[in-house]
Symmetry: C2
DNA sequence: TTAATGTTTGACAACTTTGTTAAACAAAGA
DNA sequence: TCTTTGTTTAACAAAGTTGTCAAACATTAA
C-alpha cells in the first residue's frame, strides 16, 4: 500500500500561501496556483476538492498562526517588557515574510458577507489586554484604552509592510532602502510603544 | 441634441468606489457593480468600454484624492502643528468613509506585476518630509528618520480601520464600541505623534 | 413632426475559470 | 506476478464573466 503522499498537497498549500501572503495576488486562480507550484491543476481539486475549501484551509491556518503567535509571546512569567519585545520580534519577522497575510484574511471575510467572521475563539487577547492595563497602572507606558494600545502596536508593525509599494512610490524610496528602513522598525516601534523613562 | 448625461456614468463610478473602498469587496464583478447601482451591466461597457478601464479610472481618481489631501494639508503658512491636525482630521474622515481605498490600490498594483506602479508623480511628499525634519530639529517631535515618522502616522490612521473586522473579532468589540474607539483616534494619534512637552 | 443624437436593454458570442471523469501510471503487499 | 491503493494526467462539461450588437427608447433641435 503506497504511503499517502503529503508532498504535493503541502506544496500546493505552500504555493498558495506564497502567492496570497507574500506576493499579495489576491485574485489568483487555481490555474495560477497550480502553475506556480508546477503541478497539474486537477491536483488542486484532488487534494482540496474545491477552490473554496483550499481557501478556507489556508485562511484557517493563517488564523491559527496569528493565535499561536499571541499565545507564544504572552504565556510565561517574563516581565511585560520582555514579552513585548518577543511579540514585536516574531510578528515583524512573520510580516516581513508574509506582508499580505492579514490583507488576505480581511478580503476573504469581506467577500462573503462576513457570516462566520465572528467566531475567532482567541483566548490570549484578553490576558494580553489585562497585562497592558497593569503596565499602565505601574506607570511604565502611556495611559490609554488598552485596545488602542494594541491597535497602535499592530498598526505600526503591519501597515508599512502592507503598503510598501504605495509608500515607496510616494516617498521615492528604492527597494534596498525600504528594506533597510524595515529592519530598523523593530527597535523603533519598541521605543515608541515602551518609552524609556 | 440631447445633453450627454453625466448621471449614470457618475452613479456607476460612485457605486464601484462604494463596493471597493467602503465594503472592501475587491473581487466584485461588473455584474455586482451594475446590480448595486441598479443599472444594466451593458451600461458599464457603454460608459467605460471595459472593466479594466473602469478600474483604471477609479484607481486614478483615488490616487488623485490622496495627492490632493497631501497638497491641501501641506500648503500654506500655518505652523506644522496645525497642518498635522488638519491632515489627521481630513485623512481620518476619508478613511472612515473609505477604509479599503488604499487596500484596493495596493492589490490592483500587485495584480499586474507592478509595471506602472512607480509613476506616482507626487510633489507634496518631499516638502512634507522636510517640514517634519525641521520640526525635529526644533525639538518639537521625537527625532527619527522623517520617513519613519510619516509611515507611523499613516499606519496609526489607516490600519485600525482597515483591519476593523479582524480587530473586532480578536478583541471581541461590538460595532458600536468600535465606532466609538475610532472617533477617539484623531486626538489620540495627534498626542502620540506630537506629544505635549 | 421628423431627424439626429445619445441612452438603455436583451440576446448572444467569446473567453475564463471551476469542477468532473476516465484512464494511465506508480508503488507496495499478497 | 497480480491486485490494490493512491497519484497524476488529459479531455470534457458546467458555470461564470466579459464584451458586442442591434433594436428600442428618450430627448432635443430643426
Amino acid at each position: 500500500m503506497p504511503i499517502k503522499d503529503k508532498g504535493t498537497e503541502q506544496l500546493i498549500k505552500d504555493t498558495a500561501k506564497k502567492i496570497f501572503f507574500a506576493d499579495g495576488k489576491l485574485h489568483a486562480t487555481t490555474q495560477d496556483i497550480a502553475d506556480a507550484a508546477g503541478v497539474n491543476r486537477t491536483l488542486v481539486h484532488y487534494y482540496f476538492r474545491s477552490r473554496k475549501l483550499l481557501f478556507e484551509q489556508v485562511t484557517e491556518e493563517a488564523m491559527n498562526e496569528l493565535r499561536q503567535m499571541m499565545s507564544d509571546a504572552f504565556t510565561g512569567k517574563q516581565p511585560f517588557k520582555e514579552k513585548l519585545k518577543k511579540l514585536i520580534n516574531v510578528f515583524m519577522d512573520q510580516t516581513i515574510a508574509y506582508p499580505y497575510r492579514e490583507l488576505f484574511l480581511i478580503t476573504e471575510t469581506n467577500r462573503y458577507n462576513q457570516e462566520h467572521a465572528d467566531q475567532v475563539h482567541d483566548t490570549h487577547t484578553k490576558p494580553f489586554l489585562a497585562e497592558i492595563k497593569e503596565e499602565m497602572d505601574k506607570g511604565n507606558i502611556q495611559v490609554m484604552d488598552p485596545r488602542h494600545y494594541m491597535m497602535n502596536l499592530f498598526a505600526l508593525m503591519a501597515y508599512p509592510l502592507l503598503s510598501a509599494n504605495l509608500s515607496k512610490s510616494f516617498m521615492k524610496i528604492s527597494d534596498h532602502e525600504y528594506h533597510k528602513l524595515m529592519k530598523q522598525r523593530k527597535q523603533l516601534i519598541f521605543d515608541m510603544i515602551y518609552p524609556a523613562k
